[in-house]
């Protein structure tokens, strides 16, 4: 599935992707049945009666768009943090990436860090350290 299709599944307006105003671009997902009509009453002999039912979905919060951080001109001479969020094998993967930088971009300083706390928990101390000492982050989230 491409990104556009995926996001429309979310109920997000495709308009955001086309670059239109992102403000409250409300769309109505079209349901298969008619969306409104007075509750039809049963008329025996005229086919199955129509009834009206309520939408059981809760209320999703609005999503605050976050502008991405400005990119660097080049990685040369910069410090890149490699952050392991703790899934199996990601430490070994990041070690391989570290190796790659040593061989292919020796001008880059890499720092390996294991995020403290379980995988879904924040680690503010680490973020602070990166903000002070680092220029970019590569984060391994997978398995």
């Amino acid at each position: 599935m491409n990104r556009r299709k995926l996001l429309s599944l979310l109920g997000m307006s495709p308009a955001i992707l086309a670059g239109e105003s992102a403000l409250a671009a409300q769309t109505e997902k079209k349901p298969a049945p008619a969306t409104h009509s007075s509750a039809a009453s049963a008329k025996p002999g005229t086919g199955p009666a129509k009834i009206t039912t309520v939408n059981p979905k809760g209320m999703p919060p609005q999503i605050q768009l976050i502008p991405m951080a400005p990119r660097l001109d080049s990685l040369d001479g910069k410090t890149v943090y490699l952050v392991d969020t703790g899934f199996h094998g990601s430490d070994m993967l990041l070690e391989q990436i570290q190796e790659w930088f040593k061989t292919n971009m020796p001008g880059v300083t890499t720092v390996f860090k294991r995020k403290a706390g379980p995988y879904a928990q924040d680690d503010p101390a680490l973020w602070k350290e990166i903000k002070e000492k680092g220029n970019a982050v590569i984060m391994a989230v997978g398995h």
Partner: protein, 436 residues
């Protein structure tokens, strides 16, 4: 944070990663993908991943990582502001058969027949509570997503769909108000349970006799099922590949493990009384974990001695992960027998189990869950994990971190002295009376 970053994720999580970033407000986040899985691969195998192509974009993987950090941002990528998410119109009109199909095909159900939530039926359901239809009940998310909120009316729609009666409604509102979804977005396939205590068990005709955990009473069946339907509709859970990732899935997610305690036949304090409620209060307590297994097959079910249920439970628990707790679901015959053995309170039994269910540090460290969830806490100095990780390999430590990892509830029809054990942790107890 102002620092450019490039998340690396394995291919299996592609859709999830894009959706998640979008939900967090970055629909264009520059995500780089490697082959899946990474776990269990040798360094040499991983070197091939790193030097190869991103299997999603088919570009050299590390060129992509470097580009993600250095290629300037487009206008879209700089965008800020608020976007709304649509869930469709408030009502649908069609024939009953078409609506049944429509609800099923749009993921509003557990793929089984529902009672269609007509306005009359939803209104009738709301007569089961004194709370206003538009009152906000709570917020729910099926994982680390922005939670959705919902009103009494929304809860009523799911309750009707699951086959609940209006008199069940306060119990469902109590569950919904906890914000705990019974479908969770981990790659593990978690199970959920609820314990119901108080006079409401008899008022709603819960089954806590023969077949207590099975399909033998409307209250047990429909209330358990409603939790899953609520989790889908109110908490946006249960979308495979997006908000549900359990690799193999869990059969218990259909109806959840609903346990009405057999308070009358139990020699011990009911569960809610242990939690500080009065006996006459109606309370629902929620649990999460891996599943329920029978205990009668564990070692200790000896023919040569009297049945040693304490040893049986301990044996069973030694195969559980200590990351979740141990919930004993004891038939009244088991409870009475344990009581005769000298465990005149649940706490005494819990104390014995905590002390006698042990493991070596070596075994502890070799378990998946220890590494994934407890090692990071050890690094932060959280006890007992910090100490456990410093002990020698042959040191014997408790299997569960603390006595409060254990819980005991009594249910069953006394046709046989069988216990069951659930590898589940206690979450929260909620007053049902508050929602009456």
């Amino acid at each position: 944070m102002g620092i450019p970053s490039a998340p690396i994720i394995t291919k299996a999580f592609k859709d999830l990663a894009i959706l998640n970033a979008a939900k967090r407000g970055m629909p264009h986040e520059r995500i780089c993908f490697t082959q899946h899985p990474v776990w269990g691969k040798t360094p040499d195998e991983l070197k091939v991943y790193v030097n190869g192509d991103d299997p999603v974009n088919n570009k050299p993987f590390l060129k992509e990582v470097v580009d993600a950090l250095t290629v300037p941002l487009s206008d879209d990528e700089k965008k800020s502001g608020m976007v709304s998410v649509s869930v469709g119109p408030p009502t649908f009109t069609d024939t009953a058969d078409n609506l049944q199909d429509f609800y099923l095909n749009n993921g509003y159900t557990d793929f089984l027949p529902i009672i269609l939530p007509t306005e009359e039926r939803v209104d009738a359901m709301m007569k089961g509570t004194s709370h206003h239809p538009d009152e906000v009940v709570g917020k729910m998310a099926a994982g680390a997503y922005p939670p959705w909120s919902y009103t009494v009316r929304h809860v009523a729609a799911s309750a009707v769909m699951a086959g609940c009666r209006p008199e069940y409604f306060p119990l469902l509102l109590a569950v919904a108000s906890s914000g705990i979804a019974s479908l969770f977005s981990s790659t593990n396939s978690f199970a959920f349970a609820m314990i119901v205590n108080g006079p409401i068990r008899d008022k709603l005709e819960f089954n806590y006799g023969i077949g207590a955990l099975g399909p033998f009473a409307q209250a047990n069946a429909a209330i358990g099922r409603a939790w899953t339907i609520m989790s889908k509709n109110l908490g946006n859970g249960g979308i495979p590949g997006d908000t549900y990732l359990g690799s193999v899935g869990n059969n218990l997610n259909y109806n959840n493990v609903v346990i009405a305690e057999n308070e009358e036949a139990s020699p011990w304090d009911p569960f809610h009384v242990q939690r500080g409620f009065k006996k006459e209060e109606n309370v629902v307590s929620l649990f999460r974990g891996l599943g329920v297994v029978p205990g009668q097959v564990a070692r200790g079910s000896s023919v040569n001695t009297a049945p040693m249920f304490d040893q049986q439970m301990s044996d069973l628990f030694s195969t559980f992960t200590g990351f979740f707790g141990a919930l004993i679901i004891a038939d009244p015959l088991v409870a009475v027998r344990l009581h005769e053995q000298g465990y005149d309170t649940k706490d005494k039994l819990i104390d014995w189990l905590y002390k006698n269910t042990t493991q070596t540090v070596k075994d502890y460290k070799s378990r998946n869950y220890s590494y994934l969830f407890e090692y990071p806490q050890a690094l932060q100095g959280v006890e007992p994990f910090a100490t456990w990780y410093k002990l020698p390999d042959d040191a014997v430590i408790p299997h569960f971190p603390r006595p409060s990892s254990f819980n005991i509830v009594v249910t069953g029809g006394q046709t046989n002295a069988y216990p069951q054990g659930a590898n589940m942790s206690y979450g929260v107890s909620v007053s049902i009376d508050k929602w009456a």
